[in-house]
């Protein structure tokens, strides 16, 4: 999105800028894009809901029969009630925490594995690179959802942890490739040579000198990966492999599926809408960040 740059923008970046000025430029560019601001507002709203939602919701997930069974929305219950008389709006607010928890944990796991492999492969090159990249290719082709289904159903632990572990451990290959290719270019640059000439160790060069320069692409990629993990969790839960104790959007949709006809369309509809809006927010914000940080990574 907005891939074309005006020529004056391209020449602007020739000289080095201090971190503070760089951040101001990024912020200005972000603010200039309406879609990015829109996405950012959504992301912020979801984060705030996840953190403070528990304290402001009128009802909890275990408050049964606070409304009449299957109360329609836009009545005394703003988004209706489910078949146990629970308040759908409250459940949605609580679901934000589960989704965000899954998304962020899995992304952190992805970052840990993807960064390590990408950094080592790109920096050391040679046989190590060859082996790590073949391995990355293999993991990249693995059908994630299939393995998630096997893992979750086999271990009989219907928990978020299994979902986070498996999806995070399978989700890193793309990140690893991007980090590797950036390291491949950056390790030839003069600042790395300079660091090496004053006796900096390999790991110091990797972590202190090269890694900070790859942060833009990493941040953009990770931002846009969060919705994927939210999808995985919701899909699995919807298929019946989720954590029945977590008040997630997926579980609400699974319950609501039975009432799709006419008597309870809202139970499954609103959580889906919540996922759509959340993922829209992260995608728009990520797109905006990419343009603002001038990352050349292609859309996945």
């Amino acid at each position: 999105m907005n891939q074309t740059k005006k020529p004056e923008e391209e020449t602007e970046e020739v000289y080095e800028k201090s971190t503070a000025t760089q951040l101001t430029t990024v912020w200005k560019k972000l603010k200039a894009s309406k879609l990015a601001v829109f996405g950012g507002v959504i992301v912020l709203a979801v984060i705030l809901t996840a953190i403070f939602g528990v304290y402001v919701t009128p009802y909890g997930p275990n408050d049964l029969w606070v409304h009449k069974q299957l109360t329609p929305p836009f009545s005394e219950a703003i988004l209706g009630a489910d078949d146990w008389g629970r308040d759908v709006f409250s459940l949605l607010v609580l679901g934000a925490r589960v989704s965000l928890y899954v998304g962020i944990s899995a992304v952190l796991l992805e970052a840990a594995v993807g960064l390590t492999i990408g950094m080592i492969a790109g920096y050391f090159g040679g046989v190590i690179d060859e082996i790590l990249m073949r391995f990355t290719d293999i993991v990249l082709t693995l059908p994630t959802l299939m393995l998630l289904i096997i893992a979750v159903s086999m271990f009989r632990i219907r928990g978020l942890t299994v979902i986070i572990l498996v999806s995070g451990l399978l989700g890193w290959p793309f990140l690893a490739r991007v980090v590797r290719s950036e390291f491949l270019t950056l390790k030839e640059s003069t600042f790395v040579e300079a660091a090496r000439s004053v006796g900096a160790s390999n790991w110091r060069i990797i972590l202190r000198h090269i890694l900070p320069n790859t942060m833009s692409s990493i941040i953009v990629l990770l931002t846009m990966d969060i919705p994927w993990y939210i999808f995985y969790e919701a899909s699995l839960t919807f298929l019946g492999f989720g954590d029945p104790t977590a008040a997630s959007w997926g579980i609400l949709m699974e319950r609501g599926r039975r009432f799709l006809g006419t008597e309870g369309w809202w139970i499954a509809t609103f959580p889906g809408l919540a996922i759509l809006i959340t993922s829209l927010g992260f995608n728009l914000f990520g797109d905006g960040l990419r343009d603002a940080l001038d990352v050349k990574t292609r859309a996945r």
Binding site: T141, L145, M146, F238, F241, T269, L276, R298, R300
Partner: protein
Amino acid sequence: MTLITYTIRRLIIIVPTFFLISIVIFTLIHLAPGDPISIMAANNPLRLNQTVIDKLRVEYGLNEPIYVQYLVWIGKLFKGDLGFSYVHNKPVIKMISIRVPRTLELMIIVQAVSLILAVILGVVSAVKQYSLTDALAKVGALIGYSAPSFWLGLIGIIVFAGYLKWLPPFGAQTGGVLYPTIFHVWFDHFKHLLLPVSILSFGWMAYLLRLVRSSMLEVLRSDYILTARAKGLSERVVIYKHALRNALLPVVTYEGYAVGFLLGGAAVIESVFSWPGLGQFMVLAATGRDFPTLMGLSMIITLMVLISNLIADLTYGIIDPRIRYD
């Protein structure tokens, strides 16, 4: 490098991948608590006593070390024996083989529809950047990849099957109806296909569209396009002959890697629509903890993914103007 050596090289990479995945799946399933015999015993109406269970364990080789079990399993796999499902009391291969065509049909139609639409829309929105078409395509793509497909499926069922009653909500064929001609049967099948295909294609097209558009924009700015235009070639030739070919390369690469992802999405959609394909069967097998079926299904799906990768690799080789086989 000839096309044959290129193919052989790709095939050589596929073999270790296949074994690696088979080992992962085998260990994963065997690490799990409860073995096939206990499942069988649980499903058996006659209460089996411990001596019988132990005897069966020996008979099925479940007391052997795990690597021996793996070798026996993989050996049978190559002979086309995927094991026996104790839950369904049928050979696994038999149940899978009737479901493969259903999933293949879904996959192929979805791929074709979404690829064609994505290329057309992607090219138009890249060539006419910031036009109304571009904006609409962008918004459509944004919704397509932000919306959970199973949710769209549910909405589709509510609207088109529940409310409007235009399309059937479930299955691949209306049961218990005798149609006068084969065309009626096909039409009925087509109506069942329409919703799942549209929803999967919508999401899939969104990803591809983004890719086509951004890579097309990139290619259109490159020097060789300027050269082509400078030569006085018509815009149509420049775009469709020179630019599109290069712009499609990342799309093909992506297709190769993403088949597994698409199959995952199909599993969810198949479950939503009770489409009798591999994905829905996998969900059923996992819910019923039907180990042999689950292992057999995983291997078949892995094989499908690997073959698709190979096809994508070869296509890449064919359309990339820089790769020459001779």
